[in-house]
Subunit: 206 residues, 4 copies
DNA sequence: CCGTAAACGAGACGGTACGTCGAGTCTTTGA
DNA sequence: TCAAAGACTCGACGTACCGTCTCGTTTACGG
C-alpha cells in the first residue's frame, strides 16, 4: 500500500481513504495507458474514467507517473503473490540463465508489457524520485533473484570466487536492457543465449 | 546536416533556410535545457530566446526532442571534427578499455552532459522515430569504435575467434548504461575497471 | 443577465460562475476598447487585463464581440436602472423629437460612445447571431420608446390614424443611423431638426 | 482604375503593372468571399487562389477590404457600363420610387449581393478611410440619382420648394438601409411601398 | 536587339493571436 | 466530513495569417 511521500502540507488521513476510488484509479490508469499510450494519458482522463474527482488523485499522488507506478506495483503484487519463488536452479547455471533470459526477451517483446514499462522507465530516467521508487520496488527485487542464483552457483564452484554477484548479474541484464531500451538491435532468443555464453565465461573459474 | 525527413505535407524549401535562425535555435535550446532542465524547456521558450518565430521551429522540426537532438548533433559535429580518431590502441586491450570506460563514467557523471543526454535518451525510449535517429546518429558511431578496437584485438589474438564484436561490446557498454540510466548503483572508476575485468574474460581466448 | 445560449457541447454550470471574473472581464473589455479600439482589443488582452484565464472567457462567450456586447448590456443595465423612463412628452411632438434626436446626435458624435458602438454594430452587421442579440437587447428597447411616444401622439390626433408607428419611427432613426454609420454627411443638430420637419409632415394628419 | 494612395516609400510603377494579376486577384477575392464569407477570406488565400505572390497584393492595396472594394468597383464598372442611366421618370414620383425601392429590396435580399456588400459596409463602418472610398465610389453615385429625380420632381411641382433633395432622399434610403443592416424587420415590397407613402407626404407640397 | 531594372511567383521569416488542452488549485454541493 | 464535480488561473500547445523580406524568374523598356 503506497504511503504518500511524507510531510506535505495537510497530509490527508490515510485511514479514511476510499479503497474503491484507489482501485478505480488504478484500473483507469492502466486501461488508458494501454489504449492511448502513456503520453496521451492524462490525470484528467484518469479521473474522468475512474469516476473520481481530480483532487482525489492529487491528494494521494504527486504525478501521473507516480499513479502509474503504484498501479503497476499493485498489479505486480497480485500477480507475484503466488509465483516468483526465485530463479530456477537445475545445477546447470548456463541453462538456467538462458531459460530466464529467453523468458525476459519474450516479455520485453510483448507490447502489453513493453509499452507501459518503457514509459515508466523513461519517466524514471528523467525523474530521480520516481526512478528510485521504480528501482527499489520493481527492479531491485528481481535483480536480487539473480544475486541469489549466482551466489548459489558460486558456492557450487561454478562461479569464480571473489566475483561480486551484484556486478556479475549486470553482465546479463545490462546488455539486454540496453538493446531493449535503445532498440539498437533486435531482441532474440539467440541473442540471449550468446550473451549467456560470453558473459558466463567472464565469471567462470579459471 | 539534418535534412528534413521528406514526404511530409508541404516540405519547405531547405535551400532558402536561414542558417542564422538555425544556429540561434540550437544555441537557445541548449542553453535553456542547461538552465532549466529538459521538461521546463518549451518550444515557445526556445523561439523567444532565439528571437525566432515559433513557426520557424515547427517548420523544420516535429518536436522539442527533435530540435534538441539536432542541436546535439550539431554540437557533436563541431567537437568531433578534430578528434574522434577511434579508441586508443596500445596493444593492451584491458588498459585501453578501462581508459575509455573511465572517461565515459566521468562524462556520465558530469551534469552538463548528463542532463540533456538523459532527457534525449528518455525521449528516444518512448518515441521510436526519435530513438532511431538518436541511435543512428549519435550512439551507433560511438559503438562502431568499439567494434573496430575489438576486431583489431581479435586479429592480434587477444579476443577469442568467433566472438561477435558487436555483441561483445555490449558486455562493456550495456552494464554501464544500465547503471547510469536506472541509477541502481553509483558509477565509479572502480566499477568500470571491474566491468572490464569480468567481461574481458568472457571473450578472451580459452 | 446573459445566460449562455444553451445547447452547446458541455454547457458549463452557470450557478458556479465566478461573479468576480465576470465583472473583471467586462471592465477590462470596456477599458481596452476605449484605449486601443475594438480591432486592437484581443481576447488574450482582455484575459490578461482582467487577471483571468483565457479559458474563462471562452467558457462563457463565443467571441470577442459577444463579450463586448454583454459588457455593454451590463453597463446599460446599470445606467438604465434609474432613468430611461421613456421619451419626453410635452404635447409638442416636433419639439420632443428634436430634443431626442439632438441628444442622439451628440451621443453619436462622442467618441466614447461612437467607437465601441460602431464596432459592435459592424460586427452585428456581419454576424447574424450577434446582430440579433444586439438588436433585441439594446436597439429594440430604445425603438420601443419611439413607438410609445408616437402612439401617444397618434391618440392625441397629432399623427395620422392608420400610420404604423413602428414604421414611422424609422423615418427619424433610419436617416440618422445612415449618416452615422456611413459618414455620408456630418451629423448636426440642424440636420436632426430638418429631419423631424420633413418626416413629421409625412405622418401628420392631412 | 484604382491609383495607389500616393506617396508611400517607393511607389511602384503603375505602368508596369500586370493586368493579368490584377484581374486574377479580383476574381479570387470575389470567389473566396462568395464561398467562405469575408471573415474567412485571407490575403494569403487570395494570393494562392490567384496564383500570385502575396507581395503583389501588398504592393497595390493596403488591406483585404481595399482589395475587395476594388474588386467590387471593377465588377460594378463592368455591369454599369451599359445601364445606370438614372432613375425612371414617368412623371409619377411615387410610382417611380416604389419601383426603384422594390428593386433595391430584391437586391438586398439576394445573398449574392448581400454577403459581400454587407461585409464591405461593415468594414467601412469601422475603417473610415475605406468607408470614405466606399461611399464616394459606390454609394454616392447612386444617391446622386435620387437627387436628380427629386430635383426634377421639385421642378415639376411635386415636391415642396425649399426641400433639400439630398436630405429628402435619406427618408427613403435611410430606413431601408437600417432594416437591411440591422435586420430589425424583414425587407419586403410592402415595406418599400409604405415607406414611399409616408416619406413622400413629408416632402410633398402643402 | 539586347541589357537592365521592375514587377512578379514563391515562400521563409519574426510576430501576434487564435482556440484548445491539461496542470494543479480552489469552491460548492450532495451523500 | 469527505469526495464528486467542475470552475478557476496559468502556461504551453500547434495553427493561421499578418506584413516584411529575400530569392530567382519573367517581362518590357530604353539605349
Amino acid at each position: 500500500m503506497p504511503e504518500p511521500q511524507a510531510a506535505s502540507p495537510r497530509t490527508p488521513d490515510a485511514t479514511r481513504r476510499s479503497e474503491r476510488s484507489r482501485r478505480a484509479i488504478f484500473d483507469a490508469a492502466l486501461a488508458l495507458v494501454g489504449e492511448a499510450g502513456y503520453a496521451r494519458t492524462t490525470i484528467e482522463g484518469i479521473a474522468a474514467r475512474a469516476g473520481v474527482g481530480k483532487q482525489t488523485i492529487y491528494r494521494w499522488w504527486p504525478s501521473k507517473a507516480a499513479v502509474l507506478l503504484d498501479a503497476f506495483l499493485d498489479l505486480a503484487g497480485q500477480a507475484g503473490e503466488e509465483g516468483a519463488g526465485g530463479l530456477p536452479d537445475t545445477g546447470d547455471l548456463a541453462a538456467d540463465l538462458k531459460l530466464v533470459l529467453r523468458a525476459t526477451v519474450d516479455e520485453l517483446n510483448d507490447p502489453r508489457f513493453d509499452v507501459p514499462t518503457r514509459a515508466l522507465t523513461a519517466e524514471g530516467v528523467v525523474d530521480p524520485d520516481l526512478g528510485a521508487r521504480f528501482v527499489e520496488r520493481l527492479l531491485e527485487p528481481q535483480l536480487q533473484l539473480y544475486v541469489e542464483r549466482l551466489t548459489a552457483a558460486q558456492e557450487a564452484g561454478h562461479v569464480r570466487p571473489g566475483v561480486d554477484p551484484r556486478i556479475a548479474l549486470e553482465l546479463f541484464v545490462g546488455p539486454l536492457t540496453h538493446r531493449w531500451l535503445l532498440r539498437t538491435r533486435p531482441l532474440t532468443h539467440a541473442y540471449a543465449d550468446e550473451l549467456v555464453e560470453y558473459a558466463l565465461h567472464g565469471i567462470a573459474p579459471r
